[in-house]
Amino acid sequence: MQFMLLFSRQGKLRLQKWYVPLSDKEKKKITRELVQTVLARKPKMCSFLEWRDLKIVYKRYASLYFCCAIEDQDNELITLEIIHRYVELLDKYFGSVCELDIIFNFEKAYFILDEFLLGGEVQETSKKNVLKAIEQADLLQEKTENMYHSKSFIGYKKAY
């Protein structure tokens, strides 16, 4: 996989992960172009398209588009399930995930992704193992946080 982008229905980029070295300018250009292309597609269309010399695999979950660029020999269907497994991981971790979770806890979304995919390849497909790793990190985090910050958290989730 060459990169993964998460963007909203309005074309706002929510997460970007690049597995090939590209300049910031190039990244922005690719993002703009792809967001436009994918958003222009109708719901019933197929989830794959050719773009430059890459294959784009995307799927929409509510307001968010998950979009992966894979190489010629890569398997489209399994990439679709990579996306789904990632969504499942987010869902399990945040508990019925929504776009806001990814906005407010963007760093978590990145950490989960890193546990699941590394260097553009699947690292660990077991949901249990990925979440265990993140959970442990959270426990570590909580410990240190509690050491010197016991302020109450004003939740973004209260907003609705």
Partner: protein, 980 residues
């Protein structure tokens, strides 16, 4: 995940994000997007959008200023402290120069920034901005960056976080580095240092973070620092599984960026053995976790690993398979043993019950990711030679095909996707092996079922996969049976990308038996096709029509139809090609003339049709002139009625047609001369048109009929060459692969062969960039390297011959002297002869190797730059050798003793008798003989130049031959050397 607070610890960050989000109130959404698509689709109006954008930018700038000041104070405190300590040591001043270059009273500085004046400067800095704040601000910066704003500070603070002992700070530091630091950052040394420490920490969580960072950045600097270290971590007995799998993928990433820096070695065989599924064969690994942490957490971390026999968890195997697949592509021998291991592993997965693999079963499909990866790995190798392994693999593939026929275990799309992902990968492997007709046909039938599946994705993939299946001799016929379905897809699919695949498949399954049907379907689809794929369809139709034309009238009709339906998308190559074919086949010329004449009668016809029409009528208009309905005058008037609507290149072409008419039909000469004489031609603002008009008018006035007939003779046949349309289609289809490269090379050499052919003086006589001349060149590169441009009036021929034979000496003469020159100099000429000059320009910096490939041919007089980055690894005495090969090919020279009396006339007669033209007064030395000719073969024409230099005193000859093909030069030289 219940009670975990998910570390929502950074209150300031949440507030900041909320602020930003408030500008887009309407984006708040109901929870739970896994459940299904939601119909929400309204978006804020553009003015609101702009306003909120402004507000967002304002808020961000405020935050940036805040963070900058926070970081700056921290920095200032450090600096003040350093200044303070040093000055305090020397003297006690009242005032001290602050880093901000303002006079700050010393005591004030101390009291306001650092109330407690104890301890070292380092602890003071931490006090000024503690780890938590640093983390929070770095996180805010990251968020701002991800919103799409530029961030130009904070890197240092992020690097500081890396060396924190607190996991959470370290983690944010690494995230910032992964997202924001580009490889050539100056900080890379500091980052590498932090990574090194974490890798050595033996704390699996820290090691994981460090490995993730390397895999995310993957720069060359990191490869240099860690490519040697990571294999050790990967195969070490005491590395935890989670670290192992990160290490494997980390190595994979480094190998992709810098394959030269990843050493192969003992570790490769141990990595291959990770695929082994025989538990008993595995070495016993007792976990020796030297890393001990006081926290109770540790027991949790280890709880799952207490067993004495170590069996790698499947994640490790998946990661290792990815690594092996990538490495095996370049080093197949090294990883050969992985084939049988992969087959047995795959076999176990395929035959397992869906519950066997527990968490690695995905929607009732056992280990789909690993299966796909194993099948992918097997595609790096030919079919296994060992019959047992081969049989087992065939069994696996059959099982996978069988399972596709079983009723689904779940209605969920994830189940069918995962199952079919494995199936498609298996089909790819079957196609790759291309050796089992039975499997190929089964695969084809399976794909045939998918062609009518209700899932668009499956239809798309079936079309795509069938494309490759069509090229196998075993399954080509089976693919062809689906033609009706595919044509139907072309007509009914609602998604353009699926239709595109259908076009591709029709193209791939086309052969002589169905070409007419497929071309007709493509043409009719073209009328309504999406603009984005029209050009490609046009190219495909043009290629198929030519390739499978039994009847060339069909071909001409097809191309004219193409121009009629999609004129704008017909590239130059397409209409060049139709003209080449019409000119080369006299059986179709009359038909072509008649058809274009009829097509031109349409009230609005495409300019490309005018071009083809103009060219063909100019050549073969006489073939239909007998018919009073297409008399010369009518032909001329018809063409001229389009003249004013056309662009300059087309008009130029039409002017050439007119002068050809003057030759073909003397009766319209006066009419044409009137047209040429008109102000709009003779005084045309366009130089090209004006020149043509003037010259053609003059030619038609002064030249006798004979001369006209010679100058304006019918075009000679074009040399047969690979269709340039094919090259264009390949170019459209993405960057060239290796095979493409070879083909380009071949095309180039073919073009070179065509090159020396004398350009007929007829239509293109007036000017060089005429469209008709392009027909020959097709924008190809100029012929092989020639010497420097001719300086005297001697002409090109002489200069070509004065080139000495190619010099590929181990060390070019004189280079030793030249080498000495560079001891105290960085720029200069390294080597020089009549043909070639090699300059050297060196810059010495700490730099890494990047080589830019240079075009294999160098044009005469041109300069080509080749960048070679060299790294000095240690001191040396022997100078590095730069081996440059340059060969002005295709020239052969022989010096031999005269075997016959050296009589000028006899020699001349022999050269003429040999079949070449004898060229007088070309060589500055009148005693030399110079000849030229063309050898015609069915496939190519080879231009030949020869020069024979007699030396009467020595009774010797020097014979030089230069042709467009080196083997021909060689043979001709051998033949002729015996003759004089």
């Amino acid at each position: 995940m219940p009670a975990v607070s998910k570390g929502d610890g950074m209150r300031g960050l949440a507030v900041f994000i909320s602020d930003i989000r408030n500008y887009f109130e309407d984006e708040w959404r109901p929870r739970g997007f896994v459940c299904g698509p939601c119909s929400w689709s309204s978006s804020p109006s553009t003015t609101e959008n702009r306003k909120s954008k402004e507000a967002e930018i304002k808020r961000i700038n405020k935050e940036l200023a805040n963070i900058r000041s926070k970081f700056k104070v921290a920095l200032d405190v450090c600096l003040v402290w350093k200044v303070l300590l040093s000055t305090a040591r020397r003297n006690s001043f009242d005032r001290v120069q602050s880093p901000l270059n303002t006079q700050v009273p010393l005591c004030l500085a101390i009291s306001s920034i650092c109330p407690v004046f104890t301890g070292s400067s380092a602890t003071k800095c931490d006090k000024a901005l503690d780890g938590y704040s640093k983390k929070k601000y770095v996180c805010k910066l990251l968020f701002i960056f991800l919103l799409g704003h530029d961030i130009d500070f904070g890197h240092m603070e992020a690097v500081n976080l890396l060396s924190s002992n607190r996991y959470t700070e370290k983690q944010i530091g690494y995230l910032f580095i992964s997202v924001l630091v580009n490889s050539n950052s100056e900080l890379i040394r500091l980052i590498n240092n932090a990574i090194k420490n974490d890798l050595a920490s033996r704390n699996p969580t820290f090691m994981g973070l460090a490995l993730h960072c390397i895999a995310n950045v993957g720069s060359r600097e990191m490869a240099e620092a860690f490519a040697g270290e990571i294999p050790k971590i990967l195969v070490a007995g005491d590395t935890m599984d989670s670290v192992k799998q990160s290490a494997a993928l980390c190595l994979l990433r480094l190998y992709r960026t810098s394959p030269d820096l990843v050493p192969m070695g003992d570790w490769t065989s141990r990595v291959v053995h990770l695929l082994n599924d025989q538990h008993l064969l595995l070495q016993t690994h007792v976990h020796l976790c030297q890393w001990r942490r006081p926290e109770t957490l540790l027991s949790q971390l280890h709880a799952s690993k207490v067993s004495d026999v170590w069996v790698p968890r499947q994640g490790v195997v998946t990661a290792a398979t990815s690594l092996i697949t990538t490495l095996a592509q370049k080093n197949p021998e090294e990883f050969k043993t992985s084939v049988s291991l992969a087959v047995s592993r795959l076999s176990r997965i395929v035959t397992s019950a869906s519950t066997d693999l527990q968490d690695y079963t995905y929607y009732f499909v056992p280990a789909p990711w690993l299966s796909v990866k194993l099948l992918r790995l097997l595609q790096c190798y030919p079919p296994p030679e060992d019959p047992a392994v081969r049989g087992r693999l065939t069994e696996c593939l059959e099982t996978i095909l069988n399972k596709a026929q079983e009723p689904p275990k779940s209605k969920k799309v994830q189940h069918s996707n995962a199952k079919n992902a494995v199936l498609f990968e298996a089909i790819s492997l079957i196609i790759h092996h291309d050796s089992e007709p039975n499997l190929l046909v089964r695969a084809c039938n399976q794909l045939g079922q998918f062609l009518q599946h209700r899932e668009t994705n499956l239809r798309y993939l079936a079309l795509e996969s069938m494309c490759t299946l069509a090229s196998s001799e075993f399954s080509h016929e089976a693919v062809k049976t689906h033609i009706e379905t595919v044509i139907n897809a072309l007509k009914t699919e609602r998604d353009v990308s699926v239709r595109q695949r259908a076009v591709d498949l029709l193209y791939a399954m086309c052969d002589r038996s169905n070409a007419q049907q497929i071309v007709a379907e493509m043409l009719s689809y073209l009328e309504t096709a999406d603009y984005s794929i029209r050009e490609e369809i046009v190219l495909k139709v043009a290629i198929l029509a030519e390739k499978y034309a039994v009847d060339y009238t069909w071909y001409v009709d097809t191309i004219l139809n193409l121009i009629r339906i999609a004129g704008d998308y017909v590239s130059e190559e397409v209409w060049y090609r139709v003209i080449q074919i019409v000119i080369n086949r006299d059986d179709v010329q009359g038909y072509a003339a008649k058809t274009v004449f009829e097509a031109l009668q349409a009230p609005a016809c495409h300019e490309n049709l005018v071009k083809v029409g103009g060219y063909i009528l100019g050549e073969f208009g006489n073939l239909i002139a007998g018919d009073p309905r297409s008399s010369p005058l009518i032909q001329f008037n018809l063409l001229h009625s389009k003249f004013h609507l056309c662009s300059v290149p087309t008009r130029a072409l039409l002017l050439s047609t007119y002068i050809k008419f003057v030759n073909l039909f003397p009766e319209v000469k006066a009419t044409i001369q009137d047209v040429l004489r008109s102000d709009s031609q003779l005084k045309n603002a366009d130089v090209e048109l004006q020149q043509r008009a003037v010259e053609y008018l003059r030619l038609s006035t002064v030249a006798s009929t004979d001369i006209l007939a010679t100058v304006l003779e019918e075009m000679p046949p074009f040399p047969e060459r690979e269709s340039s349309i094919l090259a264009k289609l390949k170019k459209k289809k993405g960057p060239s692969t290796v095979t493409d490269l070879e083909e380009t090379k071949r095309e180039r050499s073919i073009d070179v062969n065509g090159g020396p052919e004398p350009v007929p003086a007829s239509t293109s006589a007036a000017s060089t960039p005429s469209p008709s001349a392009d027909l020959l060149g097709l924008g190809a590169v100029p012929p092989a390297p020639t010497g420097p441009p001719p300086s005297s009036g001697g002409g090109l021929l002489v200069d070509v011959f004065s080139d000495s034979a190619s010099a590929v000496a181990p060390l070019a003469p004189g280079s030793e002297d030249n080498f000495a020159r560079f001891v105290c100099k960085n720029n200069g000429v390294l080597f020089e002869n009549q043909l070639l000059q090699i300059g050297l320009k060196s810059e010495f910096r700490q730099n890494l190797a990047i080589t830019k490939p240079v075009d294999p041919t160098v044009d005469g007089g041109a300069q080509v730059q080749q960048v070679v980055n060299i790294e000095c690894i240690s001191d040396f005495t022997e100078a590095p050798v730069l081996n440059i090969q340059f060969s002005p090919q295709q020239e052969v020279q022989n010096i031999f003793k005269a075997k016959h009396p050296m009589d000028t006339e006899i020699t001349k007669a022999k050269i003429i008798g040999f079949g070449s033209a004898l060229l007088e007064e070309v060589d500055p030395n009148p005693a030399n003989f110079v000849g030229a000719g063309i050898i015609h073969t069915k496939t190519t024409q080879i231009g030949c130049l020869l020069r024979l230099e007699p030396n009467l005193q020595a009774q010797m000859y020097r014979l030089t031959l230069r042709t467009s093909k080196d083997t021909v030069s060689q043979r001709l030289c051998e033949l002729l050397s015996e003759q004089f």
